[in-house]
């Protein structure tokens, strides 16, 4: 897929700096980003990256970036179900949310890991365009 065909739903400041891409900026935490991506998928946008990419849990890393198509078409029911399951799992884990002080050093590290997962997704789909 081409860069202009993509939309990154994110709350990660580091990803926001990737100015070649279109963003949907979300004020909120991981759950809100997944919810926003879910809403896009419900409107017929294509879900490109898995909303729970990475093994760091939603209650451990507040930063999340999810790749979807910029344009919408037919609703993909399987992808919608997947996004719904991810949202539910994130909500369950967020019940034990930990207040992370993002001003300490690992706040940057959490952003970096989220961005790296996204970059790997981008590399994969752009190799195949």
């Amino acid at each position: 897929m081409l860069t202009e065909e993509l939309l990154i739903v994110t709350n990660n400041p580091r990803v926001k700096e990737m100015t070649d891409f279109r963003h949907c900026w979300v004020e909120g935490e991981c759950r809100e980003v997944i919810m926003q991506a879910y809403n896009f998928v419900a409107q017929g946008h294509q879900l490109i990256s898995h909303p729970l990419a990475g093994s760091i849990k939603p209650n451990q890393n507040p930063y999340k970036s999810i790749l979807i198509s910029r344009l919408s078409g037919e609703v993909d029911i399987a992808a919608l179900k997947l996004a719904e399951n991810c949202l539910r799992k994130a909500e369950e884990l967020m019940e034990n949310k930990i207040p992370i002080d993002l001003n300490v050093a690992y706040g940057q590290d959490l952003q970096l890991v989220d961005q790296d997962l996204l970059l790997n997704a981008l590399q994969s789909i752009q190799e195949g365009r």
Binding site: L47, I48, S49, H50, P51, L52, A53, G54, S55, I56, K57, N59, Q60, N61, L67, A79, L82, N85, C86, R88, K89, E92, L93, E95, N96, I98, P99, I100, V104, A105, Y106, Q108, D109, L110, L112, V113, D116, L117, L118, L119, N120, A121, S124, I125, G128
Partner: protein
Amino acid sequence: MRLELGYISVKDVKFGEKTELRDGIVYVNKAELLETIADERLAKLDVDIVHPGESVRICPVKDVLEPRVKVSGSGNVFPGFFDDAKTVGEGRTHVLRGMGVMTVGKIVGFQEGIVDMAGPGADYTPFSQLINLVILADKVEGLKQHEHEAALRMVGLKATRYVAEVSRNAEPDEIKVYETKPLQEQLLEYPGLPKVAYVYALQTQGLLHDSYLYAVDAKKILPTLIYPTEVMDGAVISGNCVSACDKNTTYHHLNSPVIYDLFEHHGKDLNFVGVVVSNENVTLLDKERSSNYAAKLIKSMGVDGVIISEEGFGNPDADLMMNCKKIEAEGIKTVLITDEYAGRDGASQSLADGHVAANAVVTAGNANAVITLPKLDKVIGYVDAVNTIAGGFDGALAADGSITIEIQAITGATNELGFNRMGGSVI
């Protein structure tokens, strides 16, 4: 492919003037080891030895490896990382049984991975039962996280290779033989027994989430057929750092219970014909492609049943289910291995995905289960992250020095190859 594993039981590991194996004791010349693993990307390297039962907490554990050396047959252990990428899995390999090489280093600030050598935490990690050569590595100032991970990964491989060499000319205490014939022969070997293959899904998503097959970043592969003995010779290694409880360390890959137990049943009640290595990438397209390809390979192998394992939390559940439903759609039975994130009370949905075809599932335990670990006398590494965020717990550190965590912070606690110490019994 026929591989003899010659097990040499390690009675102890000690520092000594010469690196050698003598009377069952592995002596390590510390200075020579440090010289062997020196890396300009790493500012400080230190080595320690810990034994089962000692009051020691090690954290954050990056990888655990088992010393193995090729005595005969093609290639070297950890092919692709050393010398060349000759095919491994046949001949004789010596194993230093009972010891581990453990790398410790803080690549990112929030990293976890606890191994307690004593106390209640020791029951949750198999590595508490090993005599561990622990290598603590700090990076040079300004080194990027990707480079730090690569440097630490290579330190583990080099140190393990260095130590393993002492076993080359030793007389094994036990020799076990594992053999898988070329596919067309293997399929015919035990007529009447169900033919079984294994789909071995590796974590492959990016920084801290990678695995390597013959030193190839496994996110770049299509699922591929390998002999199970190749895995015993280190064809698959870990670059994966999270999550501690359900990542496969290199030790896990070398000792995968799925492979060894399938061999135990081989020729008795099933015919173990081979392993399909697959991956767990970030995009849904990659997941679809890899599961399509794995299902195609499995169908072409003509097997009756398949075991599928996953590695990690959340999105690998999608890979697990895609593999399951596509293989089942070919009329081939599947059994899945996973762990659970079912909440601290175990009452929540365990996985982030599911399918009606997934009707035979083995769990390695609930990673959200909570445990309190008492203060131990000695710490190797850095426990600050554990004391604050590990295991998804706020304020884990108590005034008495104990920490209350979810078991997901403990290395290997819910390993999805089944190499853990939890289980159930019928009462």
